[in-house]
């Protein structure tokens, strides 16, 4: 006990709190930025074509993403140069689509399941073969609302 009283007697240095709000703001900005950027990392070339008849995807939580394109240079040694499907963060096989869709469905409210949209982010140079296979898989899993991702183009 004696130790404590001894300490209290000394003049304790005042820490300036004037900069505290700024530090908090800085942290806030940092997290805001990080959460926006933290999208799934692209492993395939993904230069979507441009179009004019575009619809905006409103609710992010009701959208799942399927990427199709040539694997990026650093992945070509393992995955080759043929267009590949990417689900979430990793390369995937066509057979994994139903599971991917099902997983997303279980994460949303039951009432909102019919309004789930699959956003297909497909590189413009990909041939329709793989696109068709993906579409078939989506149809088989009952995911019929599809959005072909495209850049806006001035007409």
């Amino acid at each position: 006990m004696g130790k404590f009283t001894k300490k209290r007697g000394k003049a304790n240095p005042e820490v300036s709190t004037a900069s505290l709000p700024d530090i908090i703001f800085m942290l806030l900005f940092f997290f805001m930025v990080v959460t926006v950027l933290r999208d799934s990392e692209l492993k395939v070339a993904n230069n979507v074509p441009s179009a004019t008849e575009l619809t905006k995807l409103e609710k992010k939580s009701l959208v799942n993403y399927l990427f199709i394109g040539k694997p990026l240079d650093k992945f070509q040694a393992t995955y080759g140069t043929k267009p590949q499907l990417q689900l979430g963060d990793k390369f995937a096989d066509l057979k994994e689509i139903p599971l991917y869709i099902e997983k997303h469905r279980s994460s949303v409210n039951e009432k909102e399941i019919p309004s789930i949209i699959s956003s297909l982010k497909i590189d413009g140079k990909v041939t329709m073969g793989i696109v068709q296979d993906v579409k078939t898989e989506l149809r088989k899993s009952g995911q019929l609302k599809v959005n072909y991702s495209a850049k806006p183009r001035a007409d």
Binding site: S16, F25, P49, A51, E53, M128, V146, S149
Partner: protein, 180 residues
């Protein structure tokens, strides 16, 4: 003894500036992801082959995109730039031609592609077909209500949609020219 020394005061006045600098830096560097695209509704899957439908050939507008990204519309080569206008004439048939749709509700666009067709071209064609419909609906909205389609009441939009229904039927592609 370090405790006894007065702690040096750090000048906090510039902290706000540093925070703003950071804020501006992130504002400039981040690109807000705008997710837009062509919305499509796929037909439900069934294992049985679709029933044979007797269609009057005058109502069918067939568009074929081959593996070389060439366009064949109703058996004739066509450039993609003419597609939109041509589709509109086909659907509305203003001159009541014998070989065009009887009325907009009966018109069917049949789109077929090869597995070797590039996705970019496919989407461009799809976009043109959809644009043709959207333009027709827009014109109809202006004619009926003198307003743009997007500003109409919900039931007015519905009525126009019912009169000019978007029917794009996609056939199974042929196994042609897929890159291995």
């Amino acid at each position: 003894m370090a405790r006894d020394r007065k702690a040096p005061e750090v000048n906090a006045g510039s902290m706000a500036d540093i925070a703003f600098l950071l804020l501006i830096f992130f504002l400039v560097t981040t690109t807000i992801v705008v997710d837009k695209g062509v919305l499509v509704k796929l037909p439900p899957w069934s294992n049985e082959p679709p029933p044979e439908m007797k269609l009057n050939s005058r109502n069918v507008y067939s568009v074929l995109v081959n593996a070389n990204d060439d366009l064949l519309v109703r058996g004739e080569p066509k450039s993609i730039t003419d597609l939109r206008a041509d589709t509109k004439t086909f659907i509305m048939n203003p001159l009541k031609m014998e070989d065009m749709a009887e009325k907009p509700t009966k018109a069917i666009i049949s789109l077929k592609n090869d597995r070797g067709t590039s996705y970019g071209t496919y989407l461009e064609v799809y976009n043109e077909l959809k644009a043709a419909y959207n333009e027709l609906r827009e014109e109809e909205a202006n004619k009926r209500h003198g307003k743009s389609f997007e500003y109409l009441e919900r039931d007015e939009q519905k009525a126009i949609r019912a009169d000019i229904p978007l029917v794009i039927s996609e056939a199974e592609p042929t196994n042609f020219g897929e890159d291995k």
